[in-house]
């Protein structure tokens, strides 16, 4: 081979070898420096301080031996893989009630007791990207290309309403209020929910199931999520959807939140049987109209009960 070619090949070999070495070194370094790792070390330190080596030596030794690892909850029934507990390690632990985030105990332990983390995961109620293991990636705030950011505090009840259609029974005051506003503002004049209402605007029976990718975000400020879209749309429909016949209605921010929560809870999704809330006998509110009764009863009941509740409706509306 010619000398010049040989020399070129030699330098190419050196450069490639060194480059691969540097890259794999970088990869190994990054693999050992994950965002969640310091959290786990910190949690272990805090937990060991709270535990007694005498009272429960088995647990103490176990915690002492724990290595950093990704924790996840897999819920096959709705295809959720939530890794939130990788950082939110104290979520079920009353010992961490006063701790700082991310270890803080869930603020509503009684809710958590009814929805054990192991069985339900986190994103089913809170939204966000369950697979992510970084603060940003988990969509605590909105991120691009992830349609479901974590639900804002004021609209948390919108997620309760996806499964629980009896808002009064679960004490979802905001959903009740949102439903009232929907009624008072005569939204049903244009929007149909569960076969009741007009046809001027789009039907809202399955608003929660609509693909967030199909909304126009050109005029939406902040994160491009359905939640943001709904809020801003209620504030100023003309701005978010130019040319819409819907006009702005006089509502306070809180009322808008309630109405948005209610609309975002309208889902036709069938939950797996074992997750379906048990029917709670509760007196329907005297003002309940047929369409609210239908909204309460329809999505989560079986076909037979559906027809039964449909049969009830004429009576209720005639009251």
């Amino acid at each position: 081979m010619e000398k010049a070619v040989l020399r070129k090949l030699t330098s190419l070999c050196i450069i490639c070898g060194v480059a691969v070495l540097v890259l794999s070194g970088f990869a190994a370094f990054r693999d050992g420096e994950r965002e969640w790792m310091p959290h786990q070390a910190h949690y272990k330190e805090q937990l060991l301080k709270k535990l007694s080596p005498v009272k429960n030596p088995i647990l103490y030794q176990r915690v002492l031996r724990t290595q950093p690892e990704i924790k996840q909850i897999v819920v096959d029934e709705w295809g959720a893989v939530d890794r939130c507990t990788t950082c939110h390690l104290g979520i079920e632990d009353p010992l961490f009630a006063g701790a700082a985030q991310p270890f803080k105990t869930h603020p509503y332990p009684e809710l958590l007791k009814k929805h054990p983390v192991e069985k339900y995961g986190c994103t089913i109620c809170h939204g966000g990207q369950g697979l992510a293991t970084t603060y940003r990636g988990a969509a605590h705030k909105g991120i691009e290309h992830w349609p479901v950011p974590m639900v804002a505090k004021g609209m948390m009840q919108s997620r309760c309403g996806v499964c629980h259609k009896d808002f009064l029974a679960i004490g979802a005051d905001r959903l009740v209020q949102g439903r009232e506003i929907f009624k008072q503002m005569h939204c049903a004049g244009c929007h149909r929910i569960e076969k009741v209402g007009g046809d001027v605007g789009p039907e809202l029976s399955a608003f929660a199931d609509k693909d967030p990718g199909n909304f126009a975000y050109a005029n939406v400020e902040g994160s491009h999520s359905k939640q943001a879209w709904v809020m801003q749309h209620f504030k100023d429909p003309q701005k978010v959807t130019p040319g819409t016949p819907m006009r702005p209605y006089p509502m306070t921010d809180e009322q808008i939140e309630c109405l948005a929560s209610y609309v975002l809870s309208l889902s036709q999704k069938e939950m797996p049987r074992q997750y379906t809330p048990k029917e709670q006998p509760s007196a329907p509110s005297p003002q309940a109209h047929a369409w609210t009764a239908a909204a309460q009863a329809a999505p989560l009941t079986l076909a037979g009960e559906l027809s039964a509740s449909a049969a009830d409706q004429p009576e209720r509306s005639s009251k």
């Binding site: 070999c13 050196i14 060194v18 890259l23 535990l51 088995i58 897999v74 010992l95």
Partner: protein, 169 residues
């Protein structure tokens, strides 16, 4: 003349050995860079074969509060293939997966000598999980158990309790 020639020759030879040295160094450098680079790439590739986490339910799971397990109770944990047994001297979690071909064992209540029977090929095990008969080659493993800080019993099916030590509760 001759001496001059000789000096020139030796200078030439000196330059050649220097050249040889350089060439040798470059060769070594190339070899080392390539070998280390390939080794690094191989290590990183091997790292891919050992993922941090798999899409499967955690092998460490809570089985509820201690009060749900009275003395003398045997409780099959649905969907996990584990039975939690509480006796006077402690608790243990025993695997319900037959060591023969992996069928789910059935706890036997009406025979004091037999704890578990396999519906597939008739292997039988004692209450402690030792093989009594049938094709099963090994005893049933016990898994590690502990009480966590919230008072919940936890079974760690990723760790086999080789000592078969009971959780004293």
């Amino acid at each position: 003349m001759n001496s001059e020639n000789g000096a020139a020759l030796s200078a030439n030879a000196c330059g050649e050995t220097l050249d040889e040295d350089r060439r040798g160094f470059v060769k070594k450098l190339t070899g080392t860079a390539l070998a280390l680079g390939l080794a690094g790439a191989a290590v990183e590739c091997a790292r891919f074969l050992k993922p941090n986490v798999l899409y499967e339910p955690s092998r460490v799971f809570k089985v509820g509060a201690l009060e749900n397990y009275p003395f003398g109770s045997r409780t099959v944990i649905e969907g996990r293939g584990v039975e939690v047994v509480r006796e006077r001297d402690g608790m243990h979690a025993v695997s319900l997966v037959c060591t023969h071909l992996g069928c789910l064992l059935k706890p036997v209540d009406n025979d004091p000598g037999v704890g578990y029977a396999c519906p597939c090929h008739g292997s039988t095990f004692t209450l402690k999980g030792e093989v009594l008969g049938g094709p099963a080659p090994k005893d049933l493993p016990w898994y590690e158990m502990y009480l966590d800080q919230t008072g919940a019993l936890v079974v760690d099916a990723s760790k086999v309790n080789h000592k078969r030590s009971k959780l004293p509760v």
